[in-house]
Amino acid sequence: MANRPAGTLYRGKVGMWSWVLHRITGVAIFFFLLVHVLDTALIRIDPAGYDAVMATYKTWYIGLGETGLVAAILFHALNGVRIILIDFWRKGAKFQNVMFWVVIGLAILLFAGFAPRHLINVFSHI
């Protein structure tokens, strides 16, 4: 674009998108946690019911959903460290951009360690 605004330090850049992702993943994890506490607590009042709910966790579609959930947790957790470093490390703000890509790189690495193992567990039993 010819007359693109010179831009800001923030809008449309890594700073903004990391914030958007952090927020979306935080909300997703929160709602999962609400359900997860309840489905786990079910074990206290209805053990057979608990096994029935866990059977749905073993289906391929929840298995895929859980893979996505772990991806969200990986990003949120690692980007959380980035936020903490920006706040407390003297050079944090200077390196926030690089740190974002380190977060993405580490998240992909850890996800590559997790996903095959989990997906094999899921798909070898259906």
Partner: protein
Amino acid sequence: MSVIIESPRSRKRSGFNLEKYGWMYMRLSGVLLIILIFGHLFANLMVGDGIHAINFAFVAGKWADPFWQVWDVTMLVLALIHGTNGMRTLVNDYAEREWIRRTLVWLLWITCVTLIVVGILALTTFDPCGDQASLDLLAKDGANVAALCAAH
């Protein structure tokens, strides 16, 4: 002549600042949650048969061990308060009417406290060897019932 800026331009606030402690809590709990959640995911999804091994007997086995009891309760409390306080930030950002904002924030904390109480009660009063149906289910799930019930 140089411009004289009156000092102090803003007084240092003294006393208890709840927002500041909330801000610090998000960071402190975040660091602890990395260990707790990653350890939780590893123990439940990566080891052995992963998701496929999780059932009544699996949880009975974990909660026979004080180590996992403390782990799970700590994670429950830290994560729910962290998530709830994070959601409070979103409500403060997006709710346009004051009464809606206040109602949502109240709902968030009520949900948070309720789930913490439910979660702690479920774990602390859990007795997988209390009745015959549970014992049968343990056996069906493939647990070593005698050893497990001796530990509980």
